[in-house]
């Protein structure tokens, strides 16, 4: 093996001076220890990009291992003379387990694999949720895939115009707020839609995210074409004893997360009642009792986050199904819109699969190249998408304002006699 060649990286080195641990330190420590030319070259190329203020990666190329249309993102340097060790620096997306739980022995094995067959640089996790293995060459891909699937029992994730790796919050495995079994849903959808994950199927990418409650830890509402968010239809459970303990100061609000300084005594009126967005809560000072008008509650979770030991989501649970969020490439960023206000989440989740497939079929048929589902919904109109495409009834939850419509629009077939009327007869009674 030839000598290790290091590059001067004064601009990149400045990142080490900030208050946080720096990837620059991490990569250099690793590079020195294992004498990894790839790591030195990647820093060299990064320095050059900082200097020129432009990327030195070519775009496009290899997508995966044999038979897979996703999971690997090809990257090729346009500075191959200077940085030969990163002539190819492909990214491998690995399908993360539900809720992102790992056994340390698995992580050790994965690191060994990547030390051996890649740059050693990893990213836990990418914004879609996958484990990201950064930097390998084409010849290694099939070996990596074989080791991943046979030894680590792990599959590649999605990239390109595929279903991207579904992701979920940890849900019932750890969180008392979870209204649905997020990890089971993620697993079931991943297995059901294997073909869509591994074979290009769509006009553009499609992401599915599952959050157990409206706190929405995986940001499903903002970052998924299909957002599944746990909710409940009965009443918020109240432990009045615990509410009184918060008011009396024995329990610390927000799980004591604001203990860094003295914010004064807890004020239930200021910190909970008045912040309830629908004004549906009432604290009776004399009775020392909390009332909630559950019909008006919009499940924002604020009160529960402040008094987690006193308030809990109801027990009659399911999910709200939303569609269409995306980042701002076209038309600006969009949040998902409510499609089904409440759906039961029982395995095998047939209703969910059905509505998903209906949306896909329409999008595959009518969507334009690189048009996200949210853009398509905007183009044809949410009302048409819900009623005509998905065949679902229009309900007040589909709109924010006004929930009670003062205007009524009739279609001709709904009006006896249609639109034809005798104008002369009308004018007799109403002169122009």
């Amino acid at each position: 093996m030839s000598e290790i060649k290091k590059h001067d990286t004064p601009l990149v080195d400045q990142l080490k001076t900030g208050p946080w641990p720096s990837f620059v330190d991490d990569i250099y420590i690793y590079a020195e220890k294992y004498k990894k030319q790839t790591c030195f070259d990647i820093m060299g190329q990064l320095e050059l990009s900082y200097k020129n203020k432009e990327t030195h990666w070519k775009h496009g190329g290899i997508v995966g291992v044999f038979g897979y249309g996703g999971g690997v993102i090809g990257r090729y340097s346009d500075q191959q003379e200077q940085f030969p060790a990163v002539w190819a620096f492909h990214t491998v997306r690995v399908h993360q387990p539900g809720g992102k739980w790992y056994h340390t022995s698995y992580l050790k094995k994965l690191c060994d694999l990547w030390d051996h067959r890649g740059s050693g640089i990893v990213n836990f996790h990418g914004s879609t949720g996958d484990i990201i293995l950064l930097g390998t060459v084409t010849e290694q891909l099939e070996y990596i895939f074989f080791d991943l699937t046979h030894q680590l029992k792990q599959d590649l994730g999605g990239s390109g115009s595929n279903l991207r790796t579904p992701s979920s919050c940890m849900g019932k495995s750890r969180c008392q707020w979870s209204c649905i079994d997020t990890m089971a849903i993620e697993y079931e959808l991943s297995m059901e839609f294997q073909d869509e994950i591994h074979r290009p199927s769509f006009p553009y990418k499609f992401k599915i995210k599952v959050s157990g409650c409206p706190i929405d830890c995986v940001a499903a509402i903002a970052r998924a074409d299909l957002s599944i968010i746990g909710t409940w239809v009965d009443d918020i459970r109240i432990d009045q004893e615990a509410v009184r303990a918060y008011v009396g100061g024995e329990l610390k609000p927000g799980g004591n997360s604001h203990s860094d300084r003295d914010w004064g005594p807890f004020d239930i009126k200021k910190e909970v009642i008045e912040l309830c967005p629908t004004q549906c809560m009432y604290w009776d000072e004399n009775e020392k009792k909390l009332y909630i008008n559950n019909k008006e509650c919009n499940r924002c979770m604020h009160c529960m986050a402040v008094m987690p030991e006193a308030l809990w989501p109801g027990t009659d649970t399911g999910a709200t199904i939303l569609m269409g969020s995306k980042a701002p490439i076209l038309e600006g960023a969009q949040l998902s819109s409510v499609i089904v206000p409440f759906m039961r989440m029982e395995p095998p989740y047939d209703e969910l699969k059905e509505v998903t497939r209906k949306a896909w079929d329409f999008w595959m048929e009518v969507g334009k190249n690189r048009e996200r589902l949210g853009e398509l919904i905007q183009r044809i109109g949410l009302n048409r998408f819900i009623t005509e495409v998905l065949g679902l009834p229009a309900v007040p939850q589909h709109i924010r304002e006004p929930r009670s419509n003062p205007y009524v629009f009739w279609k001709e077939e709904e009006v006896p006699g249609g639109w034809t009327r005798d104008a002369a007869e009308f004018r007799k009674r109403h002169p122009a």
């Binding site: 190329g61 002539w87 290009p200």
Partner: protein
């Protein structure tokens, strides 16, 4: 349309695009436009089967995927070759 017939048609569409428009990579949507009356799902399945058979190959930008005929146009290695070892 029978599956084999559809696969043949897909190859024809791509070959035509190479000849006429000089385009070596196509999106699934392009295939759909040129093969009307067939469900997008069937086209997808046929195109993916052609990849398994080695008659087509994928080409990705990371955000989308295109289909091409192996060896035509920009290859999987994006027109780059691994530098020769000294």
């Amino acid at each position: 349309m029978e599956k084999e017939e559809l696969k043949q048609k897909i190859i024809e569409v791509i070959e035509k695009k190479i000849k006429i428009a000089g385009k070596s990579k196509v999106y699934l949507k392009d295939l759909q436009k040129d093969i009307p009356g067939v469900s997008p799902r069937d086209i997808k399945n046929a195109a993916n089967e052609l990849v398994r058979e080695g008659k087509l190959e994928y080409f990705s930008t990371g955000s989308t995927v295109m289909f091409g005929i192996p060896g035509v146009g920009m290859g999987l290695e994006a027109g780059t070759e691994k530098p020769k070892e000294e």
